[in-house]
Amino acid sequence: MQRRNFLKTASWAGLAQLSGISPLRTMSALAQATSPNDYKAIVCLFMRGGNDSNNMIVPIGGSQYSAYSQVRGSNAIAQNQLLALANSSLGLNAAFPNLNRAYIAGDAAFIANVGPLVQPTTKAQYLATSVQIPQQLMAHDNQQNAWESGAYVPGVGTSWSGLTSDLMAASYNSANMPMVTIVGNATNFGRGVASTPFNAGPNAQQESFWCNEGNACNARMTAAQQLLTFNNGANLLQADQQIYQSAYKYNAFYNSVLGSASGFSTSFPSSNPLSSALYTVATMMQLRNQIGARRQIFLIDVPNSFDTHADQADIQPGLYAMIDQFIGTFVSVMQEMGLYNDVTLFTASDFSRTLQMNSAGGSDHAWGGHHFVVGGAVKGGKVYGTFPSLTLNGADDIDGTGRFVPTTALSQYTATLASWFGVPSSQLGAMLPGLSNFSTANLGFV
């Protein structure tokens, strides 16, 4: 990609014209952006595969630690590898020094045992199926879809972020770019009834419909876009043509503003697989005025698998070191831009994993798991929610392997973030199925 940046630059102007992006429209975006306004962004860090968060925050002592270490066996984090979390009886895995710093500074919080729920559910109710239980628990793809949607509904559909865009983009974002940007893969995230996300590449790279046919290029680019209008009656064709049209439009605009990016003094460690995605996200925040965005939502898809069915003790430390280094870079670059108080990062993952170790030194798919949020707006230094009992077959374990019924609903977690972002509380119920079954829609962590 790097090989032709100069040449690509030469072709952007033509592309922007072809895509119907006039200088006038760019001007209006700038005008909007220079007016006094507030700015907020949310970053979702999605740990695909099911993060075994049993090893992220751990009871630091007493019978709960004993229960933990006995059940986990050689996968347990040693007591001297736990960093005491103030205002709690828990310790943070020492693999997270940057996250710990943010917690101490009051800028990070944990939310214990979050998972998809239709309504408040006890172990007894689950076992008797006397309340509605979310479908397709413990299935990767469906639970990822649920987490992307923000509530308990598995499968492909809309998401809280896309529905938020439906509600707010007209007031907060220019038409040049969607409110939601995905770096990596996603299914539901950013999909509303009307909204679709923008997919950005790593390292804030330009993406264009590059042409190297000399004088033939203008005619070729014109024809390529004309082909997006010929309909033969097939629904799939029309759908693809719409995505193509978005690709032309958004990439042309994206390329046109990237030249204004000024880089960062924060260093993005090249050995960290998340750096390239974070660089894109930070750059799009830096360019918020040029883009004309007062609200942005990002999803960073962690490319490494957290599906630690085997040899977890060998794999998980590397995953956590990667996440923590990413957090350190995130905090630094947000502070550098003066946006730390305006940006909130939250984690998502398919599910947590069985507390009990399996015979391969790993753990299997479970349900509720622990999550964290980071940002200057976070009311941090605190663990929210209810930590489950770690006793096998105890109050929260559904089957004797350490699969915990969530004590906080995913919809509550999402609603708290959406409320901070500016979604009116009257709209949350329609966005997050089941939310109204819970006594509070705002957990107060941000």
């Binding site: 014109t222 064709l237 069915h309 015979s359």
Partner: protein, 584 residues
């Protein structure tokens, strides 16, 4: 009208000059005849193919035995191969679809050689996967076992392994078992997959041992074998619809307890020795020499759980059975599940033909899975035949769109391979200098979210249940169709067509599409009108479905260009268009 055009066809094949052919072709208004006109010119031009192949095609001619139109021939080749070539279109036109499938069923599987177990660097290759990728691509683009390899490719997106976590030296064995079992029985496929060192590594069945007190058995393979590979989360009716309980809710196919019971049944297997014999103690994977590279896993009796296991539908594997007995029992239990025929039918129809099959279509294919007509369950040839010969698959063979939700998006690998095949690509790459395929094809396809043999997770590149936004229209491949992948798609096709496979400023010469001024297409561009060139490309690439508006837009854009540029621009415009990316 049809008769007149066919007569013209025979006449045209006796000619040699492309210009004359195009001129004659214009007189023919029947769509099929127009295709014949434009495609026949190609068969007179050895540049695209070998002379003997071309002569063979020409000599078969268009005679009274022809039962299949060229349009239908092009269409079935989209469904039953990695895309039509000029010669294949004529061959199917001549033989008919059923005979083509028969001949393909008799094609033996191309066998990918085992990877060198100890040396990464062979020639210009710098990875253990590089040679394998070359062999695989070579067969995909040039091989004759097209139907087999296409089915194997679709199976590889069901029985997923990924060489980002599995040692690539296990890949040849895995790809070979998929292609060898593609025309066998589904049960054997399940068993071969289960015992492959690739799957053993990917989902941890290798060295999964009986749990000690306070442990459970690793559920990775046990869960995905049911959820993703065989029956799905919920019970299905034969037509693929969800079975519902009395309250209208779907019925779970299995419980967590059953997953654990299957996991116990699968314990006690380890990698074979390098000579495929069974070790007396566990063979562990190690990088310097992965054990049992080309062998099924073998039993490690002491590591097998001998407790009784309760499986689906109340089936119990009694205590004390061997690992092999339990494996056979567990796979048989899944194989006989009523959800399996519709689950497999839906996957394969969506892979080969259309994203939104009717319930009746699924039901007919599921019936063929259940019974091939001779009482055999899981006969792959019967399943494939049922899929490809179904009236719903063949409905639009002679044009038209009978189902507004018909067709499917070609996934990037299929799209890429189809373009290379159609445009008469040639390769001079030979072992050991074959890095081109991994460094260009594979890495470019990674930008389109479909790097061959590297899936992001066990649920493959995209979900069969992905739907178009705001609709109930299934569109699995659209999961990776977005603003980024589309620009990458266009960019890399430009890299291939115009920029001589340029990557980081380095071009490559060992692989080429036949698009020069001296190629058949270049000849057409020099001697015929742009309209004729576009019609010919329409015949081959879109089996004659190009609309007049599309044709005019392309013709307008290429008028006045030099022949080579004209060909490159016309081909680029068609193959990167949504019209071509979709397979109608």
């Amino acid at each position: 009208m049809t008769y007149v055009c066919r007569y013209s066809m025979r006449f045209m094949r006796s000619l040699t000059r492309a210009a004359s052919l195009f001129t004659v072709g214009l007189a023919c208004v029947h769509a099929d005849a127009q295709l014949a006109t434009t495609l026949s010119t190609v068969s007179t031009q050895p540049a695209a193919q070998t002379a003997s192949q071309t002569n063979a095609v020409v000599s078969t001619g268009w005679d009274s035995t022809t039962t299949t139109s060229l349009q239908a021939a092009g269409r079935i080749l989209n469904q039953a191969s990695f895309g039509p070539t000029i010669n294949d279109v004529f061959a199917v036109e001549s033989s008919g679809i059923a005979s083509y499938l028969d001949a393909q069923f008799k094609q033996p599987a191309y066998i990918i050689p085992a990877a060198n177990p100890q040396t990464v660097t062979t020639g210009d290759c710098q990875s253990f996967s590089c040679d394998t990728e070359y062999y695989w691509w070579n067969d995909v683009i040039f091989g004759s076992d097209q139907l087999r390899q296409r089915v194997a490719f679709e199976l590889s997106k069901l029985f997923v392994v990924s060489i980002d976590t599995v040692d690539p030296r296990y890949l040849p064995n895995y790809l070979n078992l998929l292609s060898q079992d593609a025309f066998g029985n589904w049960f054997n496929l399940m068993q071969d997959v289960a015992l492959s060192p690739a799957m053993g590594t990917y989902l941890n069945m290798a060295n999964s041992t009986t749990p000690t007190a306070g442990q459970s058995a690793n559920e990775n393979f046990a869960r995905e074998m049911m959820q993703l590979f065989s029956i799905g989360v919920y019970a299905l009716n034969q037509d693929g619809s969800l079975k519902l309980d009395g309250n209208g809710n779907p019925i779970a196919n299995y419980t967590s307890a059953q997953v654990q019971n299957f996991a116990l049944a699968y314990t006690g297997w380890t990698f074979a020795n390098n000579d495929c014999s069974a070790p007396s103690s566990a063979n562990y994977y190690w990088y310097n020499l992965p054990p049992g590279q080309s062998c099924p896993m073998t039993v490690l009796p002491y590591a097998h759980s001998t407790v009784s296991k309760t499986l689906l539908r109340g089936t119990v594997l009694p205590a004390g059975q061997s690992a092999q007995q339990d494996l056979t029992g567990a796979l048989t239990n899944i194989f006989n599940d009523p959800s399996m025929p519709p689950f497999v039918a839906q996957h394969l129809i969506q892979s080969l033909v259309k994203s939104n099959p009717s319930p009746a279509y699924i039901s007919r294919v599921a019936a063929a899975f259940t019974d091939n007509g001779s009482g055999v369950r899981g006969d792959m040839k019967a399943i494939i035949t049922a899929i490809l010969m179904d009236p719903e698959a063949r409905a639009d063979d002679n044009g038209g769109i009978s189902d507004a939700n018909g067709g499917k998006l070609r996934d990037p690998i299929l799209w890429w391979a189809s373009v290379m095949r159609a445009m008469g690509a040639t390769s001079t790459a030979t072992v050991p200098n074959v890095a081109f395929f991994e460094q260009r094809f594979d890495l470019w396809l990674a930008d389109l979210d479909e790097r061959p043999h590297v899936t992001p997770s066990v649920f493959s590149y995209y979900s069969p249940s992905f739907q178009l936004q705001g609709t109930s229209t299934y569109a699995p491949e659209f999961q990776n169709e977005n603003t980024l992948t589309i620009s990458q798609m266009a960019e890399h096709m430009q890299d291939a067509i115009t920029d001589n496979w340029s990557e980081n400023g380095v071009t490559a010469t060992e692989f080429a599409m036949n698009l020069t001024a001296n190629s058949f297409w270049g000849e057409a561009a020099r001697t015929a009108t742009p309209t004729n060139l576009v019609n010919a490309l329409d015949a081959l690439l879109l089996h004659g479905t190009m609309t007049q508006g599309m044709q005019q837009a392309i013709v307008t854009s290429i008028q006045g260009l030099d022949p080579a540029t004209m060909v490159r621009c016309a081909v680029y415009l068609i193959v990167t268009s949504p019209q071509y990316r979709l397979m109608m």
